[in-house]
Amino acid sequence: MIDFELEPQVIGRLQMYHAVAEQMVRPISREYDEHEHKPPTQFWETMWTSSRDSDLTPGSGRETPDPKRAGARSQRNLNTILSTEELCWGDAGLFLSIPNPGLGGAAVMAAGTPQQKERFLKRFREGKPKWGAMAITEPGCGSDSAAVTTTATRVGDDWLINGTKIFCTAGEMAAEKSEGFVVVWATVDKTAGRAGIKPFVVEHNTPGMTVTRVENKLGIRASDTAAIVFDNCRVPMDHLLGTAEVRKEGGFKDVMATFDATRPLVAAMALGVGRAALDYVRDFLKQHNVPVRYGISPHKLAAIERDFMDMEVNLKAARLLTWRAAWMLDTGKHNNLEASMAKAKAGLAVTHITQKAVEIMGPAGYSRRELVEKWMRDAKINDIFEGTQQINLLIVARRILGYSSKELN
């Protein structure tokens, strides 16, 4: 039965997140944009204490629905999507900087054994703030993640990891500045192609793992994006997530499984930024007595009304696609196609929505006194990370055409 109704307790929780976004995040939003790399320590402390064990841990995103909860299926992924939008309405960069298992956790959840999940994720329920990160991109390979050159070599009972990774979200916090971990994707067999690529958990401050750079970015400046070098970095054998066996499509499938869970999440981040801009424009138009007239002949609409409605309906379309992708995850349906659809739509829609918002607001839109220009900069990343617009279109195209990556590339 088609239903778009959020349950009262979900709405209640979203109101709480909204209050956090409005009262705690927005006031410091500009500060941590202007002062890149400055740690928002107090914000982290608060989020760490309040968000432990909540649905704000994307790393715990791929749990199978609990059949014991008769009737009421678990909507954990959907709830994460909803709270992500709410917090990113506050600030997407600060949201990304929140101490949690992050993408590293998502990889553990997707590829790890039950014992590994417990062992690596337990820390996020106790002690001081911690971060998890994922290292997959390399200087020579981005979207072509199957081409990773970082190697993992068996030496006795250990793995030796060698290579350079870039663009690791929360990489510095996970690798050096907390008791976190980095999940690094490395090949155990270069001749096996993507099947040989495996995820390894590297504990913080493991000798041989060095953060060499923290990037300066267009937006989401509150979130650290690190380059990490692995130089004979030694990790125990059981830090390999899942199986070491090189099967056809095996290792890379785990990367993909991670993306199926995280792409809707990135789409939800986009939604939050887009809604921030949309809400801002709506209030602005209201203050200036510019009506937005629904239901009248399109011939009578002013350009600004068309623009606004266009922004609004595209955001809504992106939201529905995103909810669907998360709902499929919650109901155990394969969502590879739908996750990429949501990500492609949301990334591009919100890029356009925020750019249009800057245009509509005129000088106030372009000025750093207001946050609109910041949202435009923040929005753009959603059309790039976790698979660019083009990579997601490629995935959608393969799915709808029934083509393999060999047939359509």
């Binding site: 239901g295 399109p298 309906v313 529905l320 696609l321 909810w323 739509k345 083009q390 490629l394 709808i400």
Partner: protein, 369 residues
């Protein structure tokens, strides 16, 4: 609780209507477009699906099924996937029947619904649009003046499906001009009423199988009992939303038809020794089309869901319709483009779908859920 799954009953309806659209409607689409006529046997077969009768209350001979805008959207999409002209034709009686079921007085229901509850196709329709370029549901030019306890209708209507054969029409007119949607009433005008002139059949760019007409209303006198809902009137805002959701759902159907055809063609057609679908420039076009079809459908379902909750859903329906209409046009256009020169030839259906899809931006009140 959020769910994107149709109920089992809705899935069954979708499959049944979908199979009918694929096996019966689609093969008849091109001949209907070329000849400007829809075979009576096909219309009769469509009636057997109970498209109208199922919603007529049992006391009037129907099945008394609870109406649902979501179900209506599913049916509209499936039929339009077969052919838009035929979909609008076989669903036209709903334009008359559904407002009566939801908002009509007991007398109005008793008088008209038994006919529409019959198993055969009973033509009936509604007159909504008017021949102005900036036609606006909020500002109808057709006027209903109060006179001697009754009404006098004056004005012109266009795009009235099946007007010539309809046994009765629901004509919408401003009884309180300047009051926007709240100032509009529906009036039951029977076939042959004095002051009602049905013009020549319209010749349109698309929808060529569907017979639509202009109407002239000149001093058309009606008793008070002709007003939909009697003294209470109707909820016109809700009606406009139901129309928009139906048309938006049909836009999704046309878009899906175009996409499926273009996708299959692109996998068959070779250029430079490989199927053109293996080229990113074509593959990305198709991917974008697929995303926009799903986006449109979800917007339609969401608006329909609001209607099913009893809301007027003006904003949701308006946005969904405008979005789906624009997406449908773009997708049909892309389909022609994927086929290249072949898309331009009438041997393939995509040019017909492009002509049909162009209509959605213009059309209002041609179908309902």
């Amino acid at each position: 609780m959020i769910s994107f799954e149709l109920s089992e009953e809705q899935q069954m309806i979708r499959d049944t209507v979908g199979a009918f659209a694929r096996d019966e409607v689609r093969p008849a689409a091109r001949p209907a477009d070329e000849q400007g006529a829809i075979p009576k046997e096909l219309v009769a077969k469509a009636s057997e699906l109970g498209l109208v009768r199922s919603a007529i209350p049992e006391q009037f001979g129907g099945d008394g099924d609870a109406r649902s805008a979501v179900t209506g959207a599913v049916i509209a999409e499936e039929l339009a996937y077969g052919d838009l002209s035929i979909a609008l034709d076989v669903l036209a009686p709903r334009l008359f029947a559904f407002p009566l079921i939801e908002m009509g007085t007991p007398d109005q229901q008793k008088r008209y619904l038994p006919r529409l509850g019959r198993p055969e196709f009973v033509p009936a329709s509604a007159a909504v649009m008017e021949p102005q370029f900036d036609f606006d549901l909020n500002a109808m030019a057709t006027a209903a003046q109060h006179r001697n306890g009754g009404f006098v209708l004056d004005g012109a209507k266009c795009f009235v499906p099946l007007a010539m054969e309809a046994e009765a029409l629901l004509v919408f007119a401003a009884s309180n001009p300047g009051a926007g949607l709240g100032g509009v009433d529906g009036f039951i005008v029977e076939r042959g009423a004095a002051g009602l002139t049905i013009g020549e059949r319209e010749k349109n760019m698309g929808l060529k199988g569907l017979a639509t007409y202009e109407l002239e209303l000149k001093g058309c006198r009606l008793g008070p009992e002709a007003r939909l809902g009697g003294e209470r009137g109707c909820n016109f805002t809700r009606l406009t939303s139901q129309w928009r959701v139906a048309l938006a759902a049909m836009a999704v159907g046309v878009a899906r038809a175009s996409f499926d055809y273009a996708r299959d063609y692109a996998k068959e057609r070779k250029a430079f020794g490989v199927p053109i679908a293996t080229k990113q420039t074509i593959a990305f076009m198709l991917a974008d089309m697929a995303i926009e079809i799903d986006a449109s459908r979800l917007l339609v379902w969401e608006a329909a869901w609001h209607l099913d909750k009893g809301e007027d859903a003006l904003q949701e329906s308006y946005l969904a319709k405008n979005y789906a209409a624009a997406a449908s046009l773009k997708i049909a256009d892309n389909a022609v483009q994927v086929l290249g020169g072949h898309g331009y030839i009438r041997e393939h259906p995509v040019e017909m779908w492009l002509r049909n899809a162009r209509g959605f931006a213009t059309l209002e009140g041609l179908a309902t859920v």
